[in-house]
């Protein structure tokens, strides 16, 4: 796992991908920060954290698209899969490498707090919880992107499908349809089931606590377990492919 982690991390910064990710991430988050805090002279980061997650639609695929698709295309997966390493270790090594790059980005943006001190008193603890939420969301999307990369040989398909799914998860959160109002009578059970499902899938709802600066274990568990699920699925995809 360590060997793969090291190789992947180095690959991010030997190719332009790591830099592209950091550049795009910092550019977009700075724009959101400028709009939400600097221009309005606010120190509360609630708005910032409510919108800044949109950045992942654009930048997560940069981190994840090549992780497995490229290995398959260049046949380097034959080296990894015939080496005395477990598939879980391969998947985790790659996941941790991408997470490290994300962490560098997220850590860099904590600089916004001292910037706000120039004109006010930011709530540091609350903001840090916001950053934690941002990082956890990123982890989930990295796991998702890795899964998409494991099911195709094409990096383009991996990237686009990852973006589309992240966008879709976002839109779900902003749909204000209450199915219980539309579906009544015999279908009422379906309405409440759909409402529950929408609420469950919605990333926005999970992020709300983090944005407000309250640390709640339920959403933490939500992100970590969903990320774990995608990592598990990635291992399964690679494992199953041998049997085709």
């Amino acid at each position: 796992m360590k060997a793969i982690y090291k190789r992947e991390l180095r690959a991010y910064f030997k190719t332009p991908l790591g830099y592209i990710f950091l550049f795009a991430y910092l550019l977009i988050t700075s724009a959101v920060f400028t709009l939400c805090n600097l221009l309005t002279q606010q120190t509360s980061m609630v708005f910032f954290f409510s919108y800044v997650n949109l950045v992942f639609i654009f930048v997560i695929p940069v981190l994840t698209m090549r992780l497995f698709a490229e290995e398959r295309k260049n046949k380097t997966d034959q080296l990894l899969l015939t080496a005395p390493v477990r598939i879980v270790d391969i998947v985790l090594g790659k996941f941790l490498a991408a997470s490290t790059v994300l962490l560098i980005g997220v850590a860099a943006t904590t600089l916004y707090i001292p910037i706000m001190e120039l004109y006010g008193t930011p709530a540091i603890a609350e903001s840090m919880i916001g950053y934690l939420g941002l990082f956890l969301t990123g982890l989930l999307f990295i796991a998702l992107g890795m899964f998409m990369s494991s099911i195709t040989e094409s990096q383009v398909i991996a990237a686009i499908s990852t973006s589309v799914i992240i966008l879709f998860l976002w839109l779900l959160g902003d749909v204000n349809i209450q199915f219980t109002e539309v579906l009544t009578g015999a279908l009422a059970w379906l309405g409440s089931a759909l409402d529950w499902l929408m609420n469950f899938i919605s990333i926005t709802n999970r992020l709300y606590d983090f944005a407000l600066g309250t640390l709640n274990l339920v959403p933490v568990f939500y992100f970590v377990s969903l990320a774990g699920l995608f990592l598990f699925l990635t291992v399964q995809v690679i494992e199953r492919r041998r049997w085709k």
Binding site: R7, N74, T82, R242, W243
Partner: protein, 352 residues
Amino acid sequence: MVEIKNLTKKYGTKLAVDNISFTVKEGEILGFLGPNGAGKSTTMNILTGYLSASSGEVSIGGFDILDNPVEAKKKIGYLPEHPPLYMDMTVREYLDFVYDLKKVEEDREEHLSKICDTVKITDVKDRLISNLSKGYKQRVGIAQAMVGNPEVLILDEPTVGLDPKQIVEIRSVIKKLGREHTVILSSHILQEVNAICERVIIINGGKLVASDTPENLGKSISNENKFQLRVAGEEREILDILDGVSGIKYVNSLGRKESGSIDFVVEAEPDVDVRTPIFNALASANLPILSLQTLDLSLEEIFLEVTQSQAGTYIADVDEEEIEIVNTEPDATNNAPEEVVEEGASEDESNL
């Protein structure tokens, strides 16, 4: 060392490997021979755990590849058909990575530089792999397989895409490796297998069709007494003269290959050298011999025979008559000498 039992692999409904069983002893160099698409690469991918068999068992040094993959894989160094190289790394970085990946315990510097010396990549070790020529990439691929000194080396067409000089070099490297390792090597070039391997397995259409030593395969060559002859003159006249030479079993005309001359295939009686009588007879009739060449084709012919018939004949069972039939067909004899020259003749000499 390597044991394969009733291995079968299906891709959908297509049977890629059909119930193959064989064992490879410690320190043996086994040649894995077959036409393109015969199932060589699939079998090797299963041996190394990259693919899983539909049924059957593979065990490496006593460890089952499915039940105990990590232990089994520790014993394997694998060079796939396409060397699995990361183009964004230098040779040194790449070998370092493989060293870490395989969790090798030997001294890093010493181990890696010894490997680099063996496959002669020391002078390119700081260059990016993407900038290397195909021959060098192939060597880096072999180096990668050698990292960690695995007991079994599995090499899928290791000399493909190399120039003749490199082919000779790589073959001698593999021969050297065979002293300390068990080597399984696939190829579709007969001379290569003949030059390196102690035992040969021929597979076709996913089935094992022959298994023997190259010596036994080679016997059919030395039994042969065939020549290709090019003589300037008229066909009728030359045939009349050749008919008068004693010891010739048959003469078959191949027609005009070069203006003013005719080509023939001549087969002599066993243990009779007819070259001098032929020369004397033709010289006294003032018909100059333009070329006289031994036809070392039988290995190719046997290969074709074995791989083209679905029945699966054991090499030793192919009798002389069958070989003769192939030979009398103009097509087979026309193409074959060119193949020999292209693929193996020059290297064969340097190997012997």
